[in-house]
Symmetry: C2
Subunit: 330 residues, 2 copies
DNA sequence: TTGAAAGCGCTAACAA
DNA sequence: TTGTTAGCGCTTTCAA
């Protein structure tokens, strides 16, 4: 089969038009499926295009159409193997975004905040995953001067559109879960400087207070197993007495469980532990980790739908997604 | 702080130039850090640009420079929560790619094969993750007429550049692992129509043959736990006698272990099982799953390095990465 | 059903 | 150190 040499310069639409004996416009219309082109002409041009290995110059089209059909997704850090269990914004959120974008024939460019600043990609809108600890990220994205939506905590700020799990309700569910197992002195492990985590803690505390139970302590932790391990040790070292722990992620929960075990406390008999995210490993751990499940797939789809609506001039609303408890052995 | 209204039309470089009383070129040079611009001019223009909320039109720049500083990554399917443990090309491969692209100020657009065909993104080169079962994917990517590299099996085809783990060596390591545990009748579970999996099986078989041990059976399976479960049941049902199993992925291995347990066979006492990938869940499973670890992070970085080199006219070589055995309980 | 002209917003090349 | 000219390759608009 004859294919143009890889290094041969790409043929332009103008040249193809010349070869076909028609104008650029006719080629453009033929290849984009415009209905006003005679069928025979279209077919002839299509075959010629194929024979010459013509590929449209997407950059030129983007410029002329003032649209790239591409959405940027800004993530906080680059993904890695070790983190795949501990990242707050995992693969499945991207999966939902991608499905929705794909079915609307939009592409997705993944970028980080520093890269976005240093080398902005050609996009029509942005999805920001995570407000982060401070709000630099939101600020930076705003400055880009294009439509954006945020995954995170709905904070009533009407400036921007947010999609996120109902973290307050998640915290309440975690409290309910522990209370239902007779726990009265419950601790929290996680980084409450993240807005979403702060919401979880708030719901947790509210529900405990309603039930007349204690918040027996809190310990900050990054979203890792090691972080959970250290945080639990700190909690034990300072003499906190607790029979239940709510961890801000499943990785943290696993670390907490390991630390408790190493300290001779049985899980769940002495201390019950519940995590967050229903990460793939939660059910595999021994004991299987109870968790609060977020509907990431749906979240991703909503983010994509809303950013697409925004680029079309609509004004979609922020939205908060229900979460559900997955009781297991811990 | 005053910021231009979000809906105000974006100011162009021409308008900014007028406002600054200089030519477009001077603005262009000032903002891109060209050294020939007087410091005072540059600073003045920068401040004016900030004040007016000027954002460069990336599409226009891409067209003019004939470069997008963006690499496309073509994946076979959209990621999802359920699959995050079973996908052959996980997050960490993307992570490696992203790190390397980011540090070269390149962006990354994620796309699937159908989307790539239906709506090609503006990119300078492509990374194809996985040759797939047939070679449609490679064919499609080739037709795009731009540089590309493939993650997968190095097949001696000089047409394209491939980076991948040494799957044959991985298969041999798996055989060694089982042989060292006294296993003599070993089965294989996985989809050998994938080139990479076929390589694993080949290495496995070779090593077994060298040791005078048997390949006690093979069963096809998709990359899921459920698939592994069914495949192991089929193997048992057809009366195969085996005391070792090599599974093409860790998710498959977990399914195999579950099926064996349900059939009353102890793991590892009756049957030893080793998986592939060293997925995050492998160590968490009970029993912890022995596995062959791939260096995905390095693989991703190499893919990115090679595609960047290609876009700059270099001719990098294909490369095969060593794998290592992670002995655990299974 | 097709074509001609114009220009999207930027930067390379050359000139001053 | 700055400006002028000339496009990059496509599609919109208007005309035939």
């Amino acid at each position: 089969m004859s294919r143009p040499k890889p290094d041969s310069p790409r043929i332009t639409m103008e040249e193809l038009a010349k070869a076909a004996g028609v104008s650029k416009m006719t080629v453009s219309r033929a290849l984009s499926g415009h209905p006003l082109v005679k069928d025979s002409t279209r077919e002839r041009i299509r075959q010629l295009a194929e024979a010459h290995g013509f590929r449209i110059n997407v950059a030129a089209r983007n410029l002329r159409q003032r649209s790239t059909r591409t959405i940027g997704v800004v993530i906080e850090m680059t993904p890695s193997h070790d983190r795949s269990m501990s990242e707050p914004y995992p693969l499945s959120l991207l999966g939902g975004i991608m499905q929705e974008l794909t079915s609307n024939a939009y592409n997705m460019v993944l970028t980080t905040l520093p890269l976005f600043v240093a080398s902005p990609p050609a996009v029509d809108g942005l999805i920001l995953l995570g407000q982060g600890v401070n709000e630099d990220a939101v600020e930076t994205v705003q400055r880009a001067g294009m439509p954006y939506v945020i995954w995170g905590s709905v904070d009533g700020n009407e400036d921007h559109i947010t999609v996120g799990s109902d973290n307050v309700a998640g915290g309440r569910l975690a409290a309910d879960h522990l209370l239902a197992r007779g726990r009265r002195a419950c601790a929290f492990v996680g980084d409450a400087t993240h807005l979403e985590i702060a919401d979880r803690l708030r719901g947790f505390q509210e529900r405990l207070a309603e039930a007349g139970a204690d918040l027996a302590g809190t310990a900050p932790s990054p979203f890792t197993r090691e972080g959970g391990y250290q945080a639990a040790r700190a909690l034990l070292a300072e003499g906190s007495r607790f029979d239940g722990v709510f961890a801000a992620s499943d990785a943290i929960a696993m670390g907490v469980i390991a630390a408790l075990r190493d300290a001779g406390r049985a899980v769940p008999d002495d201390v019950a532990v519940i995590g967050f995210d229903d990460a793939p490993g939660a059910a595999l751990f021994t004991p299987a980790v109870s968790s609060i499940r977020q509907d990431w797939d749906r979240g991703g789809k909503l983010l994509a739908q809303k950013i697409l609506a925004l680029t079309k001039g609509a004004r979609p609303d922020s939205e908060s997604l229900p979460v559900e408890v997955k009781p297991r052995k811990s």
